[in-house]
Symmetry: C2
Subunit: 420 residues, 2 copies
């Protein structure tokens, strides 16, 4: 037991939502209620952006039902943001908000950028001599945070994708169409973690099982080789199923899916590589038809098809963050998931320095991609399959899932408005 | 009890698969086993195409497990086809196959084209004096068969879409992005039945709930009016959620989603209207970002999120077809679903003449579309909401659904090869 620090908790969520980021929030709130030194439990709305604006809600006032509902409600119940603090003075503002509300524990659930934000807040508090314990809680469907075996959110997205791919494959097979190419575009800008997850739709060791071709962002795209692979599959199977990550690049490393889609800042938008591949197929192979679909945000929000293992670990990460901060006086760390060494899969939590996590990315191990460049080997299966076990039972009301939302009683503001 | 007709059953599936077409097959097989006058139960592979080729399997040889598995396995376990008989002589061939295998009961599970095929077979048998009872069993996600209140397959596709839309809306809302347009493209070429189903994601009577704009193929698209609607939504909500049917047309009735996608026969392929709308938004509204996703075949194969009510009715349609043919001597009919008149939803089966069903289409009632042209009224809710009730419990194995497939023992061929 470390020195007791009495005060309030602030928890916030950041970055793209997942099916289980709210489970981590449930873990934080539930565990915080166990500790007498914690007086109030506040939620920051829309991540660091809301905190700068002093937009806090009182989580202790929320119903038990709402907290239970967090366990299966996708997206971020507190709201999220993609805001990155660029002006160093804004960190001072964050500390002012913390001081005004006697925040002594800050839990930030997010990905790479969010861990960086947590790190900077933690460092500034230390510098200013403000007693604060900061713990990051990992979250990202992209599974690209370093120092942790895997990230909460990842297991659910690949469970949904493997399920969907399995169902589409049955559909393709049933249609008995020959020379048909079915393309599924999934998320994943820089790393193929999500794309590789589609391989879990295959039965173990069955190389001829769909999906037949898995196009990873790690393997630069060669149209001729791709067309040849498609032909090869179509010689053995009436249809060829392709799963492609949105971040697929050409031989020079340029995203293939630039197309006409540029965002309002002139950046090329991702998404559309599936359509691009249908064109490649139809232009190069006469009599072969191709169709693509694009799961988009549906994949990271699909709580109705999420993984119980993932959900349990997300919750555990939230609980462990509070325990580490309150019981062990830990600060400046991110909770990690640690795979236990055993014949069977097990997972416990650990801690990593925020310095070692912030802004770093964990690449997909290239040795898990087979030499053919279009399939994933058994090492990945061993790694990923435990993460999709078990089905979260979402309650339904009137035919669709019944998800929760907070009442959201605002905490009175103490400071002048933020002039960001 | 009609005159007993002793002989064999042939059942086949046709057209695009659904999440519950196999439940109808389960109904046929299970009920057929109850009748002593039925000697063998054969399944025709790949619809009428397989029947022409005398590709039959023995369904009585399949395990109980396989037949149970039909209840929750999507796509067509017997395989399907989109083949339409054009040469009248081919119908003679069908009858030859029936005679060779003493088929006296033919059950054809399918949509408009399939009912037409069933009709022609039935008429020819009558003409030739071959004792045959033919019953069509309705199936289509498009819900466009006439004479039946609704079609097995429809409830499941709209349950999946409403669920997915609800989840994506939570994601959009969580991101707290302002001026964001989220576009979901769904199936539906000529009628907006599937598109309208997305409105079930709204809470009752909450017009400001997502999805905010529902673009039905019934309402010709006006880009200026659309952009104005988007702006109107974005004044009240940080994001605007749009659901669009793939068959949306311009003012002249031309499909908007022709793009570069032409199939190998030079036909324009549908799909891509979502991408088209993102361009319209981003080109006309500076600072507004748009993203689209396209559910494609995932939507009609999503047994993991299918409707128990739909599944039960699909099964019941299969059972009723056999009962009508065997017990009542009915032929030349399609089973219909009949909504019972009562304060509560109820559904029983009826029968319609194949003549009245074949090749006809049931349009979406335009009076169910509100005057604004972008929302659906309460009459549709009353119609569709009972169809999505209850959740089919799909068994999982190792993290993904465990679907069945037939062993598929072939029935020995009796005829020379088909020279089609």
């Amino acid at each position: 037991m470390s020195e007791e620090l009495t005060g309030n908790v602030l928890v916030a969520q950041s970055g793209g939502p997942t099916a289980v980021i709210n489970a981590s929030l449930a873990g934080v709130v539930t565990e915080a209620l166990n500790h007498g030194c914690i007086e109030e439990i506040y939620g920051g709305l829309n991540g660091i952006q809301g905190i700068l604006n002093e937009e806090l809600i009182d989580l202790a006032e929320e119903s038990q039902q709402a907290i239970r509902g967090l366990r299966y409600t996708p997206a971020s119940a507190l709201g999220s943001c993609r805001y990155k603090i660029t002006n160093p003075e804004d960190y001072e503002r964050v500390l002012q908000v913390f001081q005004a509300h006697n925040i002594r524990y800050f839990f930030y659930i997010g990905g790479n950028d969010s861990q960086d934000t947590a790190n900077k807040i933690s460092k500034l508090a230390k510098e200013k001599g403000y007693a604060l314990r900061v713990i990051g809680i990992p979250k990202t469907v992209d599974n690209d945070l370093p120092m942790t075996d895997h990230c909460p959110g990842y297991g659910s997205v690949i469970k949904y994708i493997a399920t969907t791919v399995k169902e589409i494959a049955l559909d393709n097979q049933a249609m008995g169409k020959h020379d048909f190419v079915s393309i599924v575009e999934v998320m994943g800008r820089n790393a193929g973690w999500i794309t590789a997850g589609a391989s879990l739709a295959k039965r173990r060791n069955e190389v001829d099982d769909p999906p037949h071709l898995i196009l990873m962002p790690e393997v630069r795209f060669n149209p001729e080789a791709f067309v040849a692979r498609v032909q090869e599959v179509l010689r053995k199977s009436p249809y060829c199923m392709v799963v492609v990550g949105e971040g697929l690049t050409d031989q020079d490393g340029n995203y293939l899916a630039t197309g006409s889609g540029t965002d309002s800042f002139g950046h090329s938008t991702l998404g559309g590589v599936g359509e691009y591949l249908t064109e490649i197929v139809e232009q190069n192979l006469s009599n072969v038809r191709a169709r693509s679909l694009k799961l988009g945000y549906a994949q990271r929000a699909a709580a109705h098809c999420s993984s119980q293992a993932d959900n349990d670990e997300a919750y555990m990460a939230g609980v462990s963050a509070v325990k580490a901060a309150v019981e062990d006086g830990v600060t400046d760390k991110m909770v990690t998931l640690v795979r236990t060494e055993s014949d069977f899969y097990g997972c416990e939590t650990g801690l990593a320095n925020l310095d070692d996590v912030a802004n770093a990315e964990k690449p997909f191990p290239v040795q898990w991609i087979n030499e053919d460049g279009v399939s994933i080997n058994f090492q990945f299966f061993k790694y990923a399959n435990p993460l999709i076990q078990g089905e979260v039972q979402v309650p339904y009301e009137n035919g669709t899932p019944k998800y929760m939302s907070f009442t959201g009683n605002r905490v009175a503001k103490e400071l002048p408005n933020f002039q960001g």
